[in-house]
């Protein structure tokens, strides 16, 4: 058997270079990463479907992924490194580069394999009526992020996926949103692992700069350069913080026990093979670059060692089943980190083997904890006991898995634990050769103690509480099949390690170390040696601890322990307060002050430019003659503006004057030959007035004076100065020749490049379509924000104010005059036709999606106005949210469509067609894009209208109810 491992290693050295790859490789690798995300999208798309659809999609995704991994397993273990690379953002060295070597292969296999088992388990675990769509979609999102980490070939790409795991685990841990502990646990996990991720980014960027490339392969080969660099200590510590936060190493361990608020399938997935192993994976991945120095060995070994001891000690005294498993996970992760910290090759081999073992037994244990919780209704080990009779299958599985965790032969855990103990003899920490072996043995004893306690107190002995006992029974096979499979694996890892693990472990270890490892001999029996003695001592001490557990527990509970959660929350609170203070220093919540600062800075910059540039204000361009009509219109504008100023507190009157200003501006646009702007201005004006009137109904019609006269004078002066400044700048601009501008390019290329004669529209939907896309997304977000902000007004102080709102104007008795209703119904098709006309014609003549949307919105708003909200709303088929989302998606899809034809994003195509009766017709893809614009604008406007009128109606109902009540009182 040893021979086989050796030949395997030779192959590795021989084929280190990239080989020419078959065509299928890039597709396989990309599929591996994309697959889970596609599954997540599909599950989310069928969110309302039956549970089996969700779990089926998730299971199919995981199974295909696993099959793909198995299909490449042979060549990869044989020594091939499969890779694919495409430039993504070449300017910063970010390639979409995937690479699969034995290390990545093992982790990807675990991620898909355990993922499949967890999906099966989760299907049976979740209760009816739970949001299974959200659950499995988040799970697949997380799976994709994990796979991305382990097969990234570029460290920037790896960082992207790393952040994604933090985010998706946040969703998973906080899955039960209604529970405060789930929300807090999710927040804590995100703060710690996400914060660590930020530190990691800094470390990885420095690593990439020192190594001269962000390509993982290049970095792995420049270990000597990195270790010799003066930046090495900084890089090392930053990267270690990233790994330690993710892998829950002391002092960042405390998020993991709180993450137990997640559903058990999530815990089984995150804390056996995936999330927390990401830190271990990165340590292993960067082992050839970072390991080997005294600093590395000192930090990593001592942190791992302490975490192993501390976690095992804490686990011994938890009462929650998942709490025991959480602290045991911390301890086992400490063990792995410690082994990688030794910087000895054989220790790395032991770590690789233990990763496999831990994934198998820990996932099985979490699932059995879930089964016990599911079938008895409690996870408190003090209330359980003697369950072996009621649930023999579960008991068997859990006992085997716990035995593996305790390191009892002939199970897999025994081999890796013995290897670990053997390697501790090689290491001398802080100049003390006995320190590591002794502490490791104590930790091994503790872990034997908690593992045996988990099995013994749960399934054997006398039942302690009759109530959970009465319900207990083995679950259906669907629920125990996953942990049973893992338990069998744990047994096989012990009985036949050379057969099922050795080739993989050898190949993976070679990948970790960066060169071929010596023969790996995996066996239960190595003859009597120190490691065996240590192992026996550990198990014996573990049994002793179980026997004397009550005494130990009293001892433990006698000591006051620091509450990490409390400390964390206090630290967070302090940071919050400090940040708030810092923000208040630079960002007072006063609109006036912020505007003042903004304008003052702009004015200073411009004044400086004018001062240095010199020259006269008036340029050399010749003016145009002003017609008498224009002069009178100008006077009208000034008069209306002054009227607004003088009537500032008569809000309704101000609105009327503003209408005049809008009207004059429309005339101005027409006078200056800008029909597009004129159309838009007319529509915008009407919509604005309607929305402002809706809001004004609930606001004071004549607000009181709040600021002091001195302040009003100051603000007045500022306003005059600002007006003069802008006026002066316009004057300076308008009296000069513009010279060569972009508009001449637009004019020249509008028809030939964009297929439209209306330059304004072609700019919007073609030349600068990317801008427009950004703008409609912003508009959509604004629409949703209006919804979010106004929807909360039914609660809290705002809700209270609305409920006590008094109507402050006398009312006419007639709410929906018939004449008005009839007129508007006739108007509707006419305005819609005009809207359609404006929309279709937009590409060549004034118009387009934006104006058309406003016109159509006005047509519908008038119906709301005339016939009332209820009448109109009950005839509405399509929701505003849908319109906004569909519009944005349509615009993006149109843009992406051009990629299919090999053109750049958002390139438009157009052609001319002749239809009978209609005549020549131009169809451009830009029209589809414009339709997206239309939908978003229309949706956002109607959204605002609906929300504002909702509030008014709530207030009016409350007012009516109160006046009815008071009149009833008066009548009595």
């Amino acid at each position: 058997m040893g021979k086989r491992a050796a030949t395997c290693c030779k192959k590795v050295t021989a084929k280190k270079e990239y080989r020419s790859q078959p065509m299928a490789v890039p597709a396989t690798l990309s599929t591996l990463v994309v697959l889970p995300f596609v599954a997540a999208l599909l599950i989310a798309a069928f969110g309302g479907a039956q549970r089996w659809v969700h779990s089926g999609l998730a299971a199919a995704g995981s199974a295909i992924g696993l099959a793909l991994i198995l299909s490449v397993a042979g060549p990869v273990i044989g020594g091939d490194i499969l890779s694919v690379s495409a430039p993504w953002v070449p300017a910063i060295g970010l390639d979409f580069s995937l690479m699969i070597d034995p290390l990545g292969l093992m982790f990807a296999g675990l991620i898909f394999g355990i993922g499949l088992l967890v999906v099966i388990f989760g299907h049976f675990y979740l209760a009816d009526g739970e949001a299974t769509g959200r659950f499995f979609a988040s799970l697949m999102l997380f799976q994709g992020a994990m796979v991305g980490i382990v097969i990234s070939g570029n460290i920037l790409l790896l960082l992207t996926f790393w952040e994604l795991t933090s985010l998706s685990s946040f969703l998973l841990i906080g899955f039960w949103r209604h529970r405060a502990d789930a929300r807090q646990g999710a927040r804590m996990a995100l703060a710690i692992t996400g914060g660590g991720g930020l530190v990691l980014i800094a470390g990885m960027l420095m690593l990439g700069i020192v190594a001269g490339s962000f390509d993982l392969m290049t970095i792995l080969q420049s270990g000597d350069i990195v270790r010799a660099s003066p930046l090495y200590p900084v890089i090392l510590i930053l990267i270690l913080i990233g790994c330690f936060t993710k892998s829950a190493q002391f002092p960042f361990h405390f998020w993991l026990p709180h993450a137990m608020a997640a559903p058990t399938p999530v815990s089984a997935y995150l804390h056996s093979a995936t999330m927390v192993k990401a830190g271990v994976f990165l340590l292993a991945r960067l082992w050839p670059v970072l390991a080997g120095t005294e600093l590395y060995t000192g930090i990593v070994t001592s942190v791992g060692l302490f975490t192993m001891l501390f976690g095992a000690w804490a686990a011994l005294f938890r009462h929650d089943l998942k709490g025991i498993l959480a602290y045991s996970t911390i301890s086992q992760l400490g063990l792995l980190v410690m082994l990688l910290g030794f910087s000895i090759e054989m220790a790395a081999v032991a770590a690789v083997l233990h990763i496999l073992n831990h994934a198998a037994f820990k996932a099985a244990l979490f699932m059995t904890a879930g089964i016990v919780d599911h079938e008895t209704g409690t996870r408190d080990i003090r209330r359980l006991g003697g369950l072996a009779k009621a649930m023999p299958v579960t008991a068997l599985i859990a006992t085997i898995a716990a035995g593996a965790m305790a390191g009892i032969p002939p199970l897999g855990g025994f081999i890796s634990k013995e290897m670990m103990l053997y390697e501790t003899l090689e290491i001398s920490l802080f100049g003390l050769p006995w320190l590591v072996p002794v502490v490791a043995t104590v930790a091994a004893a503790l872990s034997a103690g908690y593992s045996l306690r988990y099995a013994w107190q749960l399934f054997f002995g006398r039942p302690r509480d009759p109530e959970p006992q009465a319900k207990a029974h083995d679950p259906a096979a669907g629920m125990w099949i996953s942990p049973a499979f893992l338990a069998v694996l744990a047994v096989l890892l012990g009985l036949a390690p050379m057969l099922i693990a050795a080739p993989l472990v050898t190949a993976v270890s070679s990948a970790v170390i960066g060169r071929a490892v010596p023969e790996v001999e995996l066996a239960l029996w190595h003859g009597v040696n120190t490691a065996l003695v240590m192992s026996i001592i550990a198990v014996a001490a573990g049994v002793l601890m179980l026997w004397r557990h009550g005494t130990l527990l009293r001892l433990y509970e006698g000591v006051r322990h620091l509450d990490a959660k409390h400390l964390f929350e206090r630290g967070l609170g302090m940071m919050d307060a400090a940040v708030r203070k810092a923000i208040m220093l630079v960002h007072r919540p006063s609109l006036q002050r912020m505007l003042f600062a903004t304008f003052a800075v702009v004015a200073l910059v411009m004044a400086e430019g004018a001062w240095i540039g010199g020259g006269s204000l008036t340029g050399t361009r010749e003016g145009l003659p002003a017609s008498p009509v224009a002069i009178f219109a100008w006077l009208l504008l000034i008069a209306a503006t002054i009227a607004v100023l003088l009537n500032e507190r008569q809000r309704f009157r101000v609105l009327i004057y503003i209408s005049v200003i809008g009207l004059i501006i429309t005339l101005g646009f027409i006078h200056l030959s800008a029909p597009d702007l004129a159309l838009t201005q007319i529509a915008v004006e009407v919509v604005t007035i309607l929305l402002l009137l809706l809001a004004l109904n609930l606001l004071p019609k004549t607000p009181p004076v709040l600021s002091r006269p001195s302040r009003r004078w100051r603000d007045g002066m500022l306003a005059i100065l600002g007006g003069l400044g802008i006026g002066g700048a316009s004057w300076a601009m308008l009296t000069r020749d513009p010279g060569q501008t972009i508009s001449s390019f637009h004019l020249a290329n509008s028809y030939s490049g964009g297929g439209g004669k209306n330059v304004v529209n072609v700019i919007l939907v073609d030349f600068r379509a990317f801008d427009t896309m950004g703008e409609i997304i912003v508009l959509g977000i604004a629409g949703l924000a209006i919804y979010a902000l106004l929807d909360t007004t039914s609660r809290g102080t705002a809700g209270e104010r609305l409920r006590t709102w008094q109507e402050d104007m006398p009312h006419s008795p007639e709410s929906h005059p018939v004449m008005f209703v009839m007129a508007t119904r006739i108007l509707l098709p006419l305005v819609l036709a005009a809207g359609l006309f404006i929309f279709l014609r937009g590409h060549n003549e004034p118009g387009g999606g934006f104006v058309a949307a406003l016109v159509v919105a006005i047509a519908f708003m008038v119906q709301y106005l005339a016939s009332g909200f209820d009448w109109t709303d009950s005839r509405r088929r399509i929701g505003e949210h849908f319109l906004i989302a569909a519009g944005v998606l349509l615009a993006i899809a149109t843009g992406l469509g051009s990629l299919l034809f090999g053109a750049n994003f958002l390139t438009s195509a157009f052609g001319y067609f002749t239809l009978p009766l209609v005549g020549e017709l131009e169809l451009a893809t830009a029209l589809l894009f414009d339709l997206g614009v239309f939908a978003v604008v229309f949706g956002a406007v109607m959204q605002t209208l609906a929300q504002l009128s909702h509030i008014s109606q709530r207030a009016a109902r409350a007012h009516a109810a109160r006046s009815r009540a008071s009149s009833a009182e008066n009548g009595a």
Binding site: L636, P675, I858, A956
Partner: protein, 89 residues
């Protein structure tokens, strides 16, 4: 000939707009102001059409059409506000 007509028309409309402005500023009732605004919109439509005739350009007529079609909505909304407070009930 058409040139003089347009000039005469524009002069009349300018005068009308100024008178509208007077009513708009003086009031005295809110209803007076709203009617003044509405008349102003109608006069503006006429101004747009006249500008179109003067420039011999029919593109402006659409602005006039749109203003005619939706310009009254503002007036209606102001009235509804005065009568009922909430314009969408």
């Amino acid at each position: 000939m058409i040139g003089y007509t347009v000039i005469f028309g524009l002069a009349c409309l300018t005068l009308a707009l100024l008178l509208n402005l007077w009513r708009l500023l003086r009031g005295p009732e809110v209803a007076d102001r709203i009617v003044a605004l509405d008349t102003m919109v109608i006069n503006a439509i006429a101004v747009i059409v006249l500008i179109g005739i003067a420039d011999a350009n029919d593109i402006y007529f659409e602005a006039a059409l749109l203003l005619a079609m939706v310009g009254f909505v503002g007036t209606v909304a102001y009235c509804k506000f005065i009568l009922r407070g909430d314009i969408v009930e």
